[in-house]
């Protein structure tokens, strides 16, 4: 494996994560561990219908049950709590979307199985659930929409009052001369692709504790959230509660993956109840609730067509993407993020002179769609990578060579694609070549041929992509993102003993920021990593920031940390320079000392200088402002782009349809690597989730819209036995625009697997001429592809053709 260069004492080093011991042994505070005296338990009664009118709700027996403090329905909240509603911002340059109301507790109509219909507050969860059983709801079922294409038909029932149809959002882009490209094409490949409905499945479900202090008129709100400051702003607005008296704490969080980068009706209600009851209220979500009532992800139907010349050059691409966004819209973003991003990133690392797409976000009676690791990129990558493999087969070209010929070259950077996407640097061809080298491409092909003769079916598939990360403020605002910016804050302090605290506005829920940001700060300030404490998650401690999503934290959290640390560094050097009369340009901070750059000689202890900047013995601050405490804001460039190639080899059992992944290779380029172990961890986690979406995970509804996959018996994340050792190599194409050239990469692991594995499976089944176009690739789906192929073969050959 190509190793990552060390650029400092800690930059580039495989520092063991400081977070691990406490989270792995459970010796830390997750929201479920928050214990306050007098706490009451909140549980939700949820709809068992996908679409129904609520005729009546009888809570009388529940309200009288032992231990019950309050029972609420949607009617009780009318005029009290506003619904979650994302209005279109007319200043945005994006096309409008239709807003809808997601009531905190359903009012009049339920629109998805699992929608909250009533809430019970009791002295403990047992009592609350006993009482919940006594609530009687009368539903009048309405016709159920479970398919986006069906929802688009003119006679489909319309799910939201005032809407003309079920389209929440549509957008079109047309770049280059697509018509001419397709007219000139020697080969056109057209295919419909379907991806399954998934869910982020964080290890820790959602949960929150609200504690209203009536003496101070202050509310403290713990939530398993990725976005504490954003959550605070929205809670304050929705509760009409002064934001400066509302403190949000996102403690250790057991994974979010995007699901927890939202504000939920349950959070709003928990907060409201605490203020109303003037005591702490606690809600911890059940697993089956998380599956039915948090947010779903990914499901799209994409009709795509690619035009190529006979030598394999891509001439044009077009796509129609339809996203099934379920009943409402993710708050506070909008559920068109998935489909719009997919449309925008589909060209990937390929030079495509003409591209057009049409994207639709369509409502159905399913759980609402939210962002989940990769957001649109897994679908887009799956589509283009499948098209390229099909094209390669039809043109009798090697699939790897076809891609290499079409990729953006190193010397093309900075590259702007036909849709206006700017790519500052990257190593697309190099990553693909490296992946092929690691797998032993030529050897694999000969092994593959050999094994076919023995009745074993091996296949190889690749997928390459560009991962966008850390969107800047202008990009977000132009994209219609309400109430969020792209910059990030950090407050750096060195105390009188010379130890460092950095408070950031990002949030770490598995990413290892406490380690990574400490590495950056330790290098800048010349202290040991153990002397740097990173704080986040508490709005009373961290300066205003936008949490963690869009793989932003390394760039913006890291950038802000660097910026703040450098201000402290410069001040320490200036003060030391004044003291010693050595110009600060000739000094550096290293290993606890101010040292001369030329010979490394120690001039003074950093801790002593820190002390003297706070309380100098002679009382002389030498013209500096006392203290070492600074808060900065760092604005990243518009977008930062990483790239990677994933390559999978598989074996398919053609009798059962089961797929075994033999090897999985990732060659990734995220610019300057801060900690390769953490980068690798991110990839391993992302690839695991990608394998889930490719082969195992599938949200299934029955014909009445009831969720069938409502437990981990039926929704199947990959476990250690399903994931091979992932072989990872690093390339580095630093960003010319970010601090230290850092790029975000947290989501990429989940972007590649669908394309790589789907291509590998089709390659394994090449003798049977099947087309893989639908995920997840369950054994049953594979067997039915083979059965269909056998039937086709028998039909054309006549009798005697056997599998």
């Amino acid at each position: 494996m190509k190793s990552v260069p060390r650029r400092g004492k800690f930059l580039g080093a495989r520092v063991s994560r400081v977070e691990d011991l406490r989270v792995l042994t459970g010796r830390t505070l997750f929201v479920g561990d928050v214990q306050l005296p007098d706490t009451v338990a909140l549980v939700f009664l949820r709809s068992t219908h996908a679409h129904a009118r609520i005729v009546s709700i009888d809570v009388s027996r529940a309200a009288a049950a032992p231990g019950v403090i309050k029972v609420l329905t949607g009617e009780d909240l009318t005029g009290v709590l506003a619904p979650l509603r994302v209005d279109w911002n007319p200043d945005s340059i994006q096309p409008p979307h239709r807003p809808c109301d997601w009531f905190i507790l359903a009012r009049d109509v339920v629109r998805f199985f699992g929608e909250a219909v009533a809430a019970v507050v009791a002295t403990d969860t047992y009592m609350a659930e006993d009482a919940r059983d006594l609530i009687h709801v009368e539903y009048e079922p309405m016709s159920v929409l479970l398919d986006a294409e069906r929802a688009l038909e003119p006679d489909a029932p319309i799910l939201h009052p005032g809407w003309e149809d079920n389209v929440m959002f549509k957008a079109e882009r047309d770049c280059g001369n697509v018509a001419r490209a397709f007219k000139q094409a020697d080969l056109k490949v057209s295919q419909r692709f379907k991806t399954g409905r998934q869910t982020a499945l964080p290890l820790e479900t959602r949960g929150c504790v609200a504690s209203y202090d009536r003496a101070r008129e202050e509310l403290t709100f713990w939530s398993s959230s990725q976005i504490p400051h954003v959550l605070r702003t929205h809670l304050a607005r929705l509760l009409k509660f002064p934001e400066n008296r509302l403190r949000v704490i996102a403690p250790d969080v057991g994974g979010g993956f995007g699901q927890k980068a939202h504000v939920f009706p349950e959070e709003v209600l928990t907060a409201y109840l605490s203020v109303t009851l003037e005591r702490p209220v606690k809600w911890i979500e059940e697993r089956n609730e998380n599956l039915s009532s948090a947010l779903h992800a990914k499901e799209q139907v994409v009709d795509a067509e690619i035009a190529l010349s006979n030598d394999g050059s891509i001439l044009g691409l077009k796509a129609r993407l339809v996203s099934d966004i379920g009943a409402y819209t993710e708050y506070p973003w909008t559920s068109w993020l998935e489909v719009f991003l997919a449309g925008n990133v589909m060209p990937g690392p390929y030079k495509i002179p003409a591209y057009s797409f049409k994207a639709l976000a369509v409502c159905t009676n399913k759980t609402t769609l939210g962002v989940y690791r990769g957001v649109g990129a897994p679908v887009a990558t799956f589509v283009i990578e499948r098209l390229l493999d099909i094209a390669a087969r039809r043109l009798h070209l090697d699939p790897v060579q076809l891609r290499l010929n079409n990729m953006i070259r190193k010397e093309d950077h900075p590259y702007t694609n036909v849709a206006g996407a700017y790519v500052e640097s990257g190593s697309h061809r190099e990553a693909l070549s490296k992946a092929a080298e690691i797998i032993g491409y030529a050897d694999f092909r000969s092994e593959q041929k050999k094994q076919v003769r023995r009745g074993r079916h091996l296949g190889l598939g690749v997928a390459s992509f560009i991962e966008v990360s850390a969107p800047g403020t202008q990009f977000l605002l132009a994209g219609g993102s309400p109430r969020t910016a792209g910059w990030e804050s950090a407050r750096a302090q060195m105390d009188i003993s010379g130890k460092v605290t950095i408070a950031v506005g990002t949030h770490s829920h598995g990413q290892g920021h406490e380690t990574v940001f400490a590495q950056l700060a330790a290098d800048e300030l010349g202290v040991d990593i153990a002397d740097v404490s990173i704080r986040y998650g508490d709005t009373a401690v961290s300066p205003l920031g936008w949490g963690t999503n869009a793989s932003r934290s390394a760039v913006v959290g890291g950038g802000a940390t660097l910026k703040a640390a450098r201000i402290l560094r410069d001040k320490i050097l200036r003060f030391a320079a004044k003291r010693t009369e050595i110009p600060d340009k000739e000094l550096k901070l290293a290993d606890g000392f101010i040292r001369r750059i030329d010979d490394g000689r120690a001039i003074a202890k950093i801790a002593d200088i820190a002390h003297d900047l706070i309380i100098p013995a002679d009382g002389n601050y030498l013209g500096e402002e006392p203290g070492l405490d600074t808060t900065v804001v760092y604005e990243p460039p518009m977008l930062t782009n990483s790239n990677a190639t994933h390559l999978a080899t598989v074996e398919v059992d053609i009798e059962t349809g089961q797929v075994k992944i033999l090897r999985y290779v990732v060659v990734e380029d995220c610019g300057t690597v801060i900690n390769p172990a953490i980068v690798e961890g991110q990839i391993q986690g992302g690839v695991t989730q990608g394998i889930g979406g490719a082969l195992y995970e599938h949200i299934v509804y029955d014909s009445l819209g009831r969720l069938m996959s409502n437990s981990l018996m039926d929704y199947l994340p990959p476990t250690a036995t399903e994931v091979p050792t992932i072989e990872i190599a690093h390339l580095e194409s630093p960003s010319p625009h970010t601090m230290l050239g850092i790029k975000g990469m947290g989501e990429g692991g989940a972007v590649g697997p669908w394309g790589a594995i789907a291509n590998a499976v089709e390659d394994a089944l090449a003798p049977f001429d099947v087309c893989v176009s639908e995920l997840p690739l369950t054994p049953e789906r594979i067997l039915s592809l083979l059965n269909r192929s056998a039937r086709l073969q028998r039909a054309t050959v006549g009798e005697g053709a056997r599998l």
Binding site: N288, T656, Q658, M708, S709, M713, T721
Partner: protein, 290 residues
Amino acid sequence: MKPAPFSYAAPKSLEEVFDLIELADGNARLLAGGQSLIPMLNLRQLRPAALIDLTRVSELSRLRREGGDLHLGAMVRHSEVESSSFVAKTHSILGRAASEIGHAAIRNRGTIGGSLALGDPAGEFPLVAAILGASITLRSRTRTRAVSAADFYFGAFRSVIEPDEILTEVAFPALPPRTTWGFQELCRRPHDFAIAAVGATITFDSHGRISRAAIGLGGVDETVILAADAAASLIGTEGTKTSIAVAAQAASLECKPVSDVRASADYRRQITRVLTARVLQEAVEKSKAS
């Protein structure tokens, strides 16, 4: 989720168990390993008024051999069956079946009695009990009866156990000499619930022909079933690939699988044929080896 209120008792003798059952007047559940029962309580799918824990009824945990038959007490844990050399000496198929049940933590608690009483059509022990022609002992305060595995289930999760009865032990008859077995499950991930499971025993005579065969199918019908036609087709053959294929095809036609969230009926039928062939191949290869 939290269970609905219930009372809990941990009796030390069967007499006490019968007392508690009577006291609960039909609203009691017997707690063995709890690996299926407790989740159902937590999800409020079951709401017994009383939970009677059998853990301390020591006579239920015995393993013994009588004649050539292997007797396992109802409370014998899967992990014990899996690792027991006493069991492996004569009935190694039981250890293999046990090893497929869930994960190690589940096997440490789950019991053979609980598994048989539950009667999951995809369950490993119901399947092996059918294949081996086991005899299941049911006791009430007033009577003791033995029911053969073939007569034990009448539907998915429905057995002949009466409300006042407790399953106390299961007896597996000795296997004839020159008998080998095969056992395979198809799951999405190792140790998941089986989409289909097949087990078989075959006995060769001294001329190398199959004199006896039993093929059991799990998860592909309302209960575990024996594929009698498929087994019959093997008698007199030498266990060749062709005769195995014929038996496998017959087995796939003898079952009536249903479609559910895990798999469709068609897929289950196809897998039955594939697994039956593989299981028979496994048994034949073992006999060739020995």
